[in-house]
């Protein structure tokens, strides 16, 4: 396994502005699907197998830095190693080649650890003091001792530190998980008059959620909208998309169309212009938009998927029962006209 550790010293300061942190992690998703935020300002990226695609490790690190600098130009130290300890230590030891360089890079091999001072190990002050009492000053000295002797003198902590001094780190990378859903709530104060008045706010909420998901290379497969009314019970609508899509304008328009239909069905019209206190918009069934490449194996399948979006809009405009597809489900029927039939493919059918 090959890991990159990226450390932004300016983000590690207590008073640091941490707003760019999450967007920088999102950018790193472009490089690898396995990114672990260790702490604010420290990220680990699994770059195993990227060599044939992107070149040597220094170039991969340069790409990671370039991606993050799209968000913020903070100075960064990058280390490369075969496990998280070596990668993070390499980042700590990296020094910029010139004072004004925006980034520093260093790769560390376990054979280079022997000459490094023992102070670099993450040991508590008491253990460090005992190491000094025993005359241990370099990692190579600790690594060369028998494991049982280290365990007898320093306990489990000493054994773990000896593993690190030998360049071993059994801790696996824990990549951050994709969000299961994205939620946006907008409260109207004073409340809006009428269901149709939320169009602008709904369009803005859809655009914001789509922007968030776009940076993470995700797209929603379903949208749900819930309205809190002041003078009527809350109600909501759902909209499942034919393919995961990032089209905020049309998502908002289709949701609004469903909402007006639902309002008519619930006879909200009896209430003179219901007052909307807040709306809650949820995007879930998040998926990788790249999965849409699969229909490319058959040209018409891909074009049909594109067409499905148009058909959704068409159904919203003209109503249901307009869109059909013929299926050949009884090929052995004696009468030709009974071998095929039309099936409804409108949104209600799906």
């Amino acid at each position: 396994m090959r890991l990159l550790a990226l450390v932004w010293p300016d983000l590690r300061l207590p008073e640091a502005e941490t707003a760019p942190w999450e967007p920088m992690l999102d950018r790193l998703d472009d490089l690898s699907p396995r990114v672990e935020p260790v702490a604010t300002g420290v990220a680990l990226v699994d770059v195993t197998g990227l060599g044939p695609l992107l070149g040597e490790e220094r170039r991969i690190a340069a790409r990671a830095v370039a991606l993050c600098r799209e968000v913020s130009a903070l100075p960064v130290r990058v280390g490369a190693g075969e496990n998280r300890w070596l990668a993070v230590l390499a980042a700590r030891l990296a020094h910029p080649e010139r004072p004004d360089a925006p980034a520093a890079f260093r790769a560390l091999d376990r054979r280079e650890l022997a000459d490094l001072p023992l102070d670099l190990l993450p040991a508590d002050p008491a253990t460090s003091q005992r190491f000094a009492l025993f005359g241990l000053t370099a990692m190579g000295q600790l690594a060369a001792l028998p494991r049982s002797a280290v365990g007898g003198q320093f306990g489990a902590v000493g054994e773990r530190l000896q593993l690190l001094a030998r360049g071993d780190d059994p801790r696996p990378l824990a990549p951050r998980r994709r969000p299961a859903r994205q939620v946006r709530t907008i409260v109207f104060d004073p409340p809006l008059e009428g269901v149709g008045a939320i169009a602008l706010a709904l369009r803005r909420a859809c655009a914001e959620l789509c922007d968030v998901l776009r940076t993470r290379h995700l797209a929603p497969g379903r949208a749900a909208l819930r309205l809190q009314l002041e003078d009527a019970p809350a109600f909501g609508v759902q909209l499942a998309f034919p393919t995961p899509a990032l089209e905020p304008d049309w998502i908002a328009r289709l949701l609004l169309g469903r909402l007006e239909q639902a309002a008519r069905a619930r006879r909200l019209g009896e209430v003179e212009e219901p007052r909307v206190g807040s709306i809650g918009l949820v995007f879930d069934r998040l998926a990788d938009p790249a999965s849409r490449q699969l229909p490319a194996f058959e040209a018409q399948a891909a074009r049909w998927e594109e067409l499905r979006w148009s058909l959704e809009r068409l159904a919203a405009r003209f109503g249901e029962g307009r869109l059909w597809r013929a299926v050949h489900d009884r090929p052995t029927a004696s009468l030709a006209e009974r071998r095929t039939r039309l099936v409804d493919i409108g949104p209600s059918a799906s």
Partner: protein
């Protein structure tokens, strides 16, 4: 003053048009300049492709199939959809009257899996839906089958949208042919000449197609089309074999007598 040579015989108009077309002349274009071919969709009938002068239905055209009921307009339209699908295109059939028979469409080569059937509530909505689909630009060819209903408003707008989107719409309007013909960019008149029969079974019809209007090329050409019924299409290959003397001699060793194509006067 222009001097005319009265001694030269006047060339008949069809031959003159054919000669001009051979020289690459298109209406409204300088004959000397290079003429880029206009993108076109195949009609499914090579003879009609040639007669249209653009190699098929010109993209962006509203094409009227000017034919009395039963003269093969639906067969030609479905053949066009099949040819469009074969070239990877997306097709739709707008059917307000509910007259589309999927089995017939399948028999004429349409892949039902990728055929969108739209059933509007009435003819006016059909035209509006066609405009909607044209504006979306996802459909390459669609058939607007208005059958015997009166021609609704909005066809001029549909023609404008088609020009922008590059799709082709074939209009079947038996009742409103005259008024639709003025709006269509391409108008093809179909007249049955004869029935095609194998034994006592009618398998198709021979139709004369005349390009009476063509906005993007010279009009006036004619083509003779053999339009087979859905069931008759299956024997199409054998019928062609029977019609070709060479192919018939090649089948001399066969124990079954090849079917013979008979042309019965209409």
């Amino acid at each position: 003053m222009v001097q005319t040579d009265r001694s030269r015989p006047v060339q008949p108009l069809p031959e003159l048009l054919e000669a001009l077309r051979d020289r690459g002349l298109r209406r409204g274009v300088e004959p000397s300049g290079p003429v880029p071919p206009r993108p076109a969709l195949p009609t499914g009938q090579p003879d009609l492709d040639r007669a249209l002068g653009t190699g098929g239905w010109p993209r962006g055209a509203l094409a009227l199939l000017d034919a009395p009921t039963g003269s093969g307009a639906t067969s030609l339209a479905l053949g066009t959809l099949a040819a469009c699908q074969a070239s990877g295109g997306q097709v739709a059939y707008l059917d307000p009257s509910g007259s589309l028979d999927p089995a017939t469409a399948s028999g004429l080569g349409v892949d039902l899996a990728w055929l969108l059937v739209v059933r509007p509530a009435h003819a006016a909505e059909a035209v509006e839906l066609a405009g909607w689909l044209a504006r979306e630009g996802r459909i390459d060819a669609m058939v607007l089958d208005l059958a015997d209903t009166l021609l609704p408003r909005g066809l001029d707008r549909l023609a404008d949208l088609l020009v922008r989107s590059g799709g082709v719409t074939l209009l079947l309007a038996a009742a409103g042919r005259e008024s639709a013909g003025r709006l269509a960019g391409v108008r093809v008149a179909l007249r049955r000449q004869a029935w095609l029969a194998v034994g006592r079974d009618l398998v198709g019809q021979r139709v004369e197609a005349t390009v009476t209007r063509q906005r993007w090329a010279l009009a006036g050409s004619r083509a003779e089309l053999d339009l087979y019924f859905a069931e008759g299409r299956r024997t199409d290959t054998l019928l062609r074999a029977a019609a070709q003397p060479l192919a018939a001699s090649a089948m001399a060793g066969a124990t079954l007598e090849p079917p013979s194509l008979a042309v019965v006067g209409a």
